[in-house]
């Protein structure tokens, strides 16, 4: 028993560089901040929806009614400010959790009008993990204010949060796969279900005046394509936990999952920006190495060599 617990502890509390967790804070936090900034007008637009359309979900269940223009607008603006503090690592112990809660709330509000989207779930969950981890010990305004100049030793207190983000990523895909099995069984793969879903989704987009996938619309005529695609989908989802083995297996799975989303975009015109930008899979990679080339550039000092000048002594 002790041996098993010790192995779990070594696996979970695995040492990682503080700079890796900081890089994830910047990458994931930066993406989330960018999302709120770019989608700000869209998020604030929910203030125009009728109260009769309000179906609160998750944290917005505490609301007894819809939010006014002013309140929703203020919440979005404060989320942006908190996001800046999160990304720059300023007052992180306070601003980290504040940004995470506000992000959860404003994205939750968007999902509270009869339609639950599934494009922000993992982004919000990752930000929440980062908010509860020491992700501003390095590469942050907090570290700069403390005068922290030394390179922190890799430590498990940075590694566990990275392991957790990896596990939560694979769990979301695994859950999606097991939901298909629970709702449809293996017939999800052995019947024309995926083909019919692609046709149905493109049809409803066309009949609701939206852009749809011409690729998907053309491919549905070739039914034989879809059973292998369905098998690949289910394999990528149910096989996700293998990514926790790390190394090449993790990278291969991340690539499979990314290709899965490329496929969804191609045949259904459904955009999952967080995984498509690669950010969802960032915890699987040594992302702190991304700024090595820039660090080298900043630290570059050209070597100054003395020039030999011939001696003029004793000559004329």
């Amino acid at each position: 028993m002790r041996g098993a617990l010790s192995r779990i502890d070594r696996f979970w509390y695995r040492p990682a560089p503080a700079t890796r967790l900081a890089a994830l804070r910047i990458i994931i936090g930066g993406f989330a901040l960018g999302y709120v900034v770019i989608r700000g007008p869209h998020l604030m637009g929910y203030a125009d929806f009728d109260a009769s359309q309000f179906e609160p979900t998750g944290v917005t269940s505490v609301l007894s009614g819809t939010l006014s223009d002013d309140v929703l607008g203020a919440l979005v603006m404060i989320t942006i400010l908190a996001g800046v503090a999160f990304v720059t690592g300023a007052g992180y112990r306070v601003t980290g959790p504040i940004f995470a809660m506000l992000l959860l709330f404003v994205t939750g509000y968007r999902n509270s009008f009869g339609q639950i989207f599934h494009t922000e779930n993992l982004m919000v969950i990752h930000v929440m993990v980062l908010a509860l981890a020491p992700a501003a010990d390095s590469v942050s305004l907090d570290a700069w204010r403390r005068g922290e100049t030394r390179t922190l030793e890799p430590d498990g207190r940075y590694g566990w949060a990275i392991q957790l983000m990896c596990l939560l990523t694979v769990l979301t895909y695994f859950i999606s796969g097991q939901t298909k099995l629970r709702n449809a069984g293996l017939e999800w793969v052995t019947t024309d279900t995926l083909r019919n879903f692609v046709a149905y989704d493109n049809l409803r987009k066309a009949e609701l005046g939206d852009s749809y996938s011409f690729i998907g619309a053309a491919l549905v005529a070739h039914g034989w394509l879809f059973k292998p695609l369905a098998a690949f989908t289910l394999a990528a989802e149910l096989g996700a936990p293998l990514a926790m083995l790390g190394g090449r297996v993790a990278k291969l799975w991340a690539l499979s999952a990314w290709l899965f989303h490329v496929g969804i975009l191609a045949v259904m015109a459904i955009l999952f920006p967080y995984p498509l930008a690669g950010v969802a899979f960032a915890p699987f990679f040594p992302v702190e190495q991304l700024w090595r080339p820039f660090k080298r550039l900043v630290q570059y000092r050209p070597e100054i060599r003395p020039i030999r000048v011939p001696s003029l002594r004793g000559k004329g």
Partner: protein
């Protein structure tokens, strides 16, 4: 102490994310979800609730999501579906909202707006047969200022 904190936070997150699995696989929430979209069995028949603009010559144009909601097609679908579920008063209101949008957007030629449920064969649709197999009209209204 740090290890205990890490352990507790990790267990709480994993349990929270896995919790929806214990419930109805068709249920959904945010951000904790079973991701039930596209998870059931599906045949090629599809009933679509939508809003259509009709021109003077009888030609029909599907109105975009912005006419009833925002730029999200699924949000528009949910709004229309909700109105259809609520009944004639709600579909009339939705129809007038869409008609006002058409008027303010200055879409030429569209004279009336209809809220419909059309039934299609999705595979036949992309094989060239775009006409609905059946149609239920919920509301019709004129495009005018108010």
């Amino acid at each position: 102490m740090r290890r205990v904190y890490a352990f507790i936070v990790s267990v709480v997150f994993v349990i929270a994310v896995m919790l929806p699995v214990l419930g109805d696989p068709r249920s959904d929430s945010f951000p904790l979800s079973t991701y039930p979209m596209f998870s059931g069995l599906r045949d090629s028949m599809a009933s679509i609730d939508h809003v259509v603009g009709v021109a003077g010559d009888g030609s029909r144009t599907a109105l975009p999501p912005e006419s009833v909601a925002n730029d999200e097609v699924l949000q528009a679908l949910a709004i229309i579906r909700g109105a259809v579920r609520q009944g004639p008063e709600a579909t009339e209101k939705l129809c007038r909202q869409a008609a006002l949008w058409v008027y303010e957007s200055r879409w030429e030629n569209i004279e009336t707006v209809e809220v419909l449920t059309d039934r299609f064969d999705a595979l036949a649709y992309f094989d060239g047969d775009k006409s609905p197999m059946s149609s239920v009209l919920h509301a019709r209204c004129l495009v005018e200022e108010s």
